[in-house]
Structure formats: C-alpha cells, structure tokens
Symmetry: C2
Subunit: 190 residues, 2 copies
C-alpha cells in the first residue's frame, strides 16, 4: 500500500539492529485515518474469504484489528499475554518466545469466543521473526478453527517470519514489505 | 447510554467481589459497532471542547479510543505500561498502583507526542478505583498539557474513582454508571 510505504519513508526511524520505529503513527501514537485505509485494503484483499472473526494480540495490534473490523463487520478478539502459568477455565493457550525481551510468555483466548466453526483472519501491526503470529496460528488451530489468512501492516521481509507463516499454509498479506534497511534506508519489496 | 446499559444487563456477568465481566463485547472480544455508538456519544458530549488528542492506556482502552478518534478526527496516544524502572529519553512517566494485581507499575508516553499545547481527552473502558485514570491525569499535567476531560465506557460508581477524578477538576463522562451490584444484579445510576 503506497500510502503506508510513503508514511514509513517520511516518519519511520531506523535504529541500529534493524529496528524500525513507527511510533509516531502506528504503535504508540496512532493515525486512525491511515488504519482506515489499511482496513479497507485488508477487506479488498480478503474479499470472498469466509471470515467470522478478526484475531490479534495485545497491545498494538488491537488498533489495527478494531478499525479493520468495521469493514469486515465481524467481532475482534485479542489474545492476552500472561506470565503466570495458571490460566484457569475454558481457554486456549500457547507459548510464544519473545526475541525482543528474551523470554517466553503465554497467550490465551477464552474458549467461549473461539470455536471450531470460526474462520479467523489474524491481524497485527508488525511481522518480523513471526513468533507472535505463529503463536496465533497455533492458538486458532488448537481450537479446531480455521485460519482464513493473516493481514499485517509492516512485514520485515528479511527476518524470516513471512516464510514461516506461508510454510504453515497461511495466506499472508502484508501492506508494506521491507526488503532491507541497509545504511539507514528502507527499501521495499517491489 | 441505554444501548450500553442494555448490553451490560444482557451479556455482563457478575462474580464475587463486585467483579463485572464484559469480556464478550468490551475487553477480550470486542463489538466494534457498540464502540462506534460510544465514540459518537463521546463526541456529542465533548462537542465544543478543544481536543487535540485522545489518550488511553494499554491494552483494552486502545479499542475504545481508536474508534472514538474517528469522530474527533485527532490522533490516539496510548500510555505504555512497564515494570522496568529505567525508561530512557524524552518521556513523561508516572507510577500507578494496581489493586487488581497488588503491585505498582510505571506508565509512560513519549515527550514527542504529548506537548504543553495539547488538550487531551482521556478514554478508557473501565473506571473503578481510578488508579489508572488518575495516573493519566498526572501524566498529562506533568507534560504541561491540559486535560480536556475523561470519557469512560463503564464506571463502577461505588468504588470511588469518579469522585477522585472530579476532585482533580476533570470533567468526567461515563456512558454507564453502575450504582450497585448486590445479589448479582447490576443497578445503574439514574
């Protein structure tokens, strides 16, 4: 999506270690009009696919999923993160490794809201190594539900997450795919 | 807002200790059409007030703020929670006590996105004892910015948060105010 690429070029900032900060419009301060264009585009891309629910993970995916849900006209569900091992009751849960924080955490959703007849579109702001997204895929499948696809705002195409997701048989649509960030310049995949 | 009160009566569940669970439509699974009605109502209530930004706190306030921001046509900013004491750089930070989790955490926003000329509407899904909301008020004021008001989806009117917020000189608008939850029945303030 050209609008998003242009915004990354204008307002994104690159830090050592291939870190791209987009906190002025995506994951701290949020430009909701940009998210509206993204939601519209996700809807166009997944038109014709059966989708009963959008699933994301707290915290910064919630904004993207909620705005997109207005186009899909389905509920949003967000997986919660926990560091406690005792999650009681009727829940689906999987473990996710976080490279950023160097630790493992569990994510869960209530079994009430994710059922075998759901067809779930996964939504997130970022895809890098794919740990969070692969966690969501396992979560949906552990509930016996179907993964209808994954819609991502920004994919760092050189960090392997996209390959993992596609290898898991999931249709992946990323609105901006970064091919490299060498010498402080973002290059998009064309 | 009658729509919200009706939804609480229909889908809210009460647990011992005055716990109201609304995770089927507000803070786990999210009914975005309900949030749209709430956003429209916040906009009506604060019509004529100068508002440059909506501020909320991760995670479940993000959904409410993003949908509401479509009516106000301003950016959303969400305060992040951290348990590390070392927050570097240009940030505003305050400590918040959590009664639920029995510990203290820090919340922060970047100084880039909250400035002295901002007039900020605080948005959250819940108000009970008021710790999080009072933290946001201190955060805004520590940046030299103005608190334009606070818009809350559900206020538990018997837990004191509302009084604290009003005593701090902040205009508070809660779309549903629960007066009591005795014997498993929700009574709204009329």
């Amino acid at each position: 999506m050209k609008l998003l690429e242009d915004r990354i070029l204008r307002d994104g900032r690159i830090y050592p270690g291939n870190i791209l900060k987009v906190d002025s419009f995506l994951n701290h301060q949020i430009d909701v009009s940009l998210l509206n264009e993204a939601g519209r585009e996700f809807y166009r891309l997944f038109d014709g696919t059966r989708i009963t629910k959008l699933l994301t993970i707290e915290a910064s995916g919630i904004s993207v999923a909620c705005i997109a849900a207005q186009y899909f006209n389905v509920p949003v569900l967000f997986a919660k993160k926990t560091h406690t091992k005792n999650i009681a009751g009727n829940v689906h849960t999987v473990s996710v490794e976080s490279f950023t924080h160097g630790r493992t955490y569990d994510i869960y959703v209530s079994g009430e809201f994710l059922c075998a007849d759901d067809s779930v579109l996964l939504i997130d702001d970022f895809l890098a190594k794919g740990n969070a997204l692969m966690g969501l895929i396992r979560l949906v499948r552990s509930a016996g539900a179907e993964v209808a696809g994954a819609g991502i705002m920004i994919e760092k195409g050189f960090q392997g997450g996209g390959e993992l997701v596609r290898a898991a048989g999931v249709r992946l649509e990323s609105l901006a795919v970064i091919e490299s960030m060498n010498e402080g310049r973002v290059q998009f995949k064309t």
